[in-house]
């Protein structure tokens, strides 16, 4: 293992060469804000909140720490005016895009950022900040790619293909779970879950009788792992 030494805000740290700067910072107790990072998925580098300044040799530049590979001797600064400015503007832009999002308002309050009055808030209750976590989770963790992006630029939107019910969605709700603004809604009753416009019948636990997971999700797990359905028809509590 190739180890490298460098500094974060003046403090010397050591890490494996090529490790992502954000991971190293977190391990060393340095807080860097994020909106699109999750430990289970590959970071897209989309929100730009985790920007830091890195000096390598004579060159200083602003990079996203979630994807920046560390190397020997770099000097990292996480709280310069330059990066604070980027984070402030990113939040202001997101708040204008999603004025109803409580999570964004909370983050802004915590960071002392106020909305920019010249960014007219969009007249919408949309709270999707296009962080990509739902799409990546569905693709990389669950493996069904039931949701994805369409269009581009300001028209970019997350959803099911053709805006119709997805044939491959298993109703697991992982996307709703990772969504930082709780934009993805999972509703329904104990017996039936609704997500992305489709209803999923829930499996009743053979032991306790509680409904606990969509049948389709269990069928998917069974297909992937080879574990038979009757073994999967028992909830976690009863296992």
């Amino acid at each position: 293992m190739d180890m490298v030494k460098f500094t974060i805000d003046g403090k010397e740290v050591e890490a494996e060469k090529g490790a992502y700067l954000l991971d190293v910072a977190r391990e060393n107790g340095v807080r860097i804000p994020t909106l699109c990072w999750h430990e289970s998925i590959e970071s897209p580098g989309a929100c730009r909140m985790c920007v830091v300044e890195v000096k390598q040799g004579k060159r200083t530049r602003v990079v996203t720490s979630c994807l920046y590979p560390v190397s020997e001797g770099i000097e990292v600064k996480t709280q310069t005016d330059r990066v604070k400015h980027v984070r402030k503007v990113v939040l202001q832009l997101q708040m204008a895009r999603c004025p109803e999002s409580k999570e964004l308002k909370d983050m802004a309050d915590e960071m002392g950022v106020k909305p920019e009055p010249r960014f007219t808030p969009d007249a919408t209750d949309n709270t999707c900040i296009l962080c990509r976590m739902c799409v990546r989770t569905c693709e990389q963790v669950v493996g069904v790619s039931a949701i994805g992006f369409s269009y581009r630029g300001t028209e970019k939107v997350v959803g099911t293909p053709f805006k119709e019910q997805s044939k491959v969605c298993i109703g697991c709700g992982a996307c709703a779970f990772v969504c930082p603004t709780h934009h993805i809604k999972m509703t329904g009753t104990p017996e039936e879950r609704e997500i992305w416009g489709r209803n999923f019948k829930m499996m009743k636990c053979k032991t306790c009788g509680n409904y606990f997971a969509p049948i389709e999700q269990l069928e998917w797990i069974s297909k992937k792992t080879g574990v038979p359905m009757d073994k999967l028809s028992v909830c976690q509590a009863c296992k």
Binding site: L67, Y68, P69, R82, V86, V90, Q94, F149, R152
Partner: protein, 617 residues
């Protein structure tokens, strides 16, 4: 066509081709690039063929259909060899006259000659034309002399000699060193030293390695790459094969913009012909080196000109860029070492190999070597593609080659670098065209678009236009670009429509800084450049829009009024006829008037008025 299996085979073929061509045989070379075809040149070509056949002259007079000659303002055009008589703005029915008078009798048709607007002199020969005189047509030099669909034409004028030299006499590392020594810098916009890129890719670990030609020329107003691919595809191909050999790659791609069907057609034919001759494929010319090229078309996305977005497109995905903290030279297409260069960059390579790095480095400035092709467009008399040595002054390009501003209007700015560049005002017209000099002025070389603007172009409307373009072209992945460009555009629209507020300029500046620092790719972090440069040089126009709610250039519709000058108006009634909203009225032969409340400033009346009686206030 027979396969060439040895280096000598190429030279032997070249000798045969040159022997079989009489340099004194009369030849009409007609430009059939996309621009000239848009003038209807195909009709001229068809009638030239018919007229030659009628007179049974097909074997005595050659008709060569070539790529772009560069002087696009003056199409349809032809050059008659061997004298190089230059005919321009040819009528589509002039075929018979040209053959009968000039080809058969040696008479010059005066009305088809270019007239120098300064000296009023009629120019007979191409090399005397002021548009061409100051240029250094190196990369573009063969465009007028070959048919792009004839590999024999290319070989006859010396084509593929550089490839033979490279494969036969040079080791891959030596080729890389030669390109480093020549200091060729990328012509696509980045200006990165090409030799260093090749070196990095050559030394990177990973297999296979890829070489890519970026022909996704998306900068609006720039069409150099199109004309190169249409007019001399073999030059680009030869550069790529040499590069692939130097880097150690057997897999090449040419990624062409979807909107360039003729370029795709011609490069496809060129690849096929090169394969048939054994200049592409397995064991090229018996060297042991194998290389082949595939063509991919873009899908209509400017962002795919950015290398990582281009790779995504080649991989069958949406063209979203990714961070490049690890260079593409190490992890590019399919995460393999990839060398991507622009069309014009590849086209420079055979010259460096043929004539040597020292010769090449003798052209240009200390930091920018060789020549650059610019598309000189906009408010300019001589619209076209010009190739000049690096270091030539902007003023020379705009006035000596470009012929200055039409309709007696005043020069205001020249915009370079496309949506990533800036506007350079008159006081810097004596600046040399050079990568670093243009960057110092707040612009950039970019791919070569050079848009000239006059006093009737609004310098708040121009950045608004670029941001509208980028808003549509943004991939939408990162917040600063997707949301930031949109908000900048909104503020600029407010300013253009009379809703600008004190503090808007400062806000634009602040937003610009965040986008430059925060955006993921070069599209985003250069998006604020047109705004930053116009604030820097044309702050007075911003202030006029915001504080006086006036547009000094008379462009921004909500801030101007149209008025009829009673002294000039003859009462012809044409403006009434063309007005879609009934805003103009008046009695016949009496001065008319415009109802400001109804007028939408669409411009139809101003366009139709033959007496310049409609004034913008």
């Amino acid at each position: 066509m027979r396969k060439l299996k040895t280096f000598d085979g190429v030279e032997k073929l070249r000798g045969e081709l040159q022997k079989g061509r009489d340099p004194n045989k009369p030849c009409m070379t007609v430009c059939v690039g996309t621009g000239c075809l848009a003038y209807g040149t195909q009709k001229l070509v068809d009638s030239l063929k018919v007229e030659l056949e009628k007179r049974k002259l097909q074997d005595k007079i050659d008709l060569r259909l070539s790529g772009c000659h560069g002087f696009c303002e003056r199409g349809p055009m032809m050059v008659i060899y061997p004298q190089k008589i230059f005919y321009q703005r040819i009528g589509l029915n002039d075929a018979a006259e040209i053959i009968d008078k000039t080809l058969l009798k040696g008479e010059i048709i005066d009305r088809l000659l270019y007239v120098d607007p300064m000296t009023k002199e009629k120019i007979v020969y191409e090399h005397d034309c002021p548009f061409y005189k100051k240029q250094m047509r190196l990369v573009f030099g063969m465009n007028g002399q070959i048919s792009p669909t004839s590999i024999d034409d290319y070989i006859a004028v010396g084509g593929y000699a550089a490839l033979v030299k490279a494969l036969q006499k040079m080791k891959p590392d030596a080729i890389v060193q030669e390109v480093i020594k020549a200091n060729l810098r990328g012509r696509g916009g980045g200006g990165f030293p090409t030799g260093w890129k090749w070196d990095e890719t050559r030394k990177a670990t990973g297999d296979p390695k890829y070489v890519i030609c970026n022909a996704d020329e998306g900068d609006p107003g720039a069409y150099m790459d199109r004309s190169l691919l249409e007019g001399n595809p073999h030059l680009v191909l030869e550069g790529m094969i040499i590069g692939a050999y130097a880097i150690g790659s057997s897999n090449g791609y040419i990624y062409v913009r979807n909107e360039y069907p003729l370029a795709v057609q011609n490069i496809t034919a060129a690849i096929q012909a090169a394969r048939e001759y054994g200049l592409l494929g397995e064991n090229i010319l018996g060297s042991g080196f194998s290389f082949d090229v595939k063509i991919n078309r873009g899908g209509g996305a400017f962002v795919c000109g950015e290398s990582s977005a281009l790779f995504a497109s080649l991989e069958g995905r949406a063209g979203e860029p990714r961070v490049k903290y690890i260079h593409a030279t190490h992890k590019g297409l399919w995460d393999k070492p990839t060398n991507l260069n622009n069309v014009e960059t590849w086209a420079n390579v055979p010259f460096i190999i043929n004539r040597g790095a020292d010769w090449y480095a003798g052209i240009g400035t200390a930091g920018s070597k060789g020549t650059k092709i610019f598309s000189l467009v906009g408010k300019i008399n001589n619209t076209g593609l010009v190739e000049v040595p690096m270091g030539m002054k902007l003023r020379e390009i705009v006035y000596d080659i470009g012929g200055g501003i039409p309709n007696g209007r005043k020069f205001k700015a020249v915009q370079t670098g496309g949506p990533s560049g800036g506007c350079i005002p008159e006081k810097y017209l004596d600046s040399p065209v050079d990568f670093d000099e243009l960057t110092k002025l707040g612009s950039m070389m970019g791919s070569g678009g050079m848009i000239v603007m006059d006093d009737r172009n609004c310098m708040v409307d121009v950045p608004r236009y670029f941001l509208s373009f980028l808003e549509i072209e943004s991939c939408g992945k990162c917040t600063p670009c997707r949301e930031g460009v949109r908000r900048m555009k909104e503020i600029l629209t407010d300013i253009c429509e009379g809703r600008g507020q004190e503090g808007d300029v400062e806000l634009l500046d602040s937003l610009a800084k965040a986008i430059v620092d925060g955006a993921l790719c070069a599209l985003g972090n250069s998006a604020p450049n047109p705004v930053i440069s116009t604030i820097r040089y044309f702050r007075d126009e911003y202030d006029a829009h915001i504080r006086q709610k006036k547009c000094p250039a008379g462009v921004c519709k909500k801030l101007i009024k149209y008025r009829i000058d009673a002294k000039k108006c003859t009462g012809c009634g044409l403006c009434v006829k063309v007005c879609a909203v009934g805003a103009t009225s008046g009695e016949r032969k009496k001065p008319h008037a415009i109802d400001i409340a109804k007028c939408t400033r669409c411009g139809a009346c101003m366009e139709s008025c033959k007496f310049e009686a409609i004034i913008v206030e």
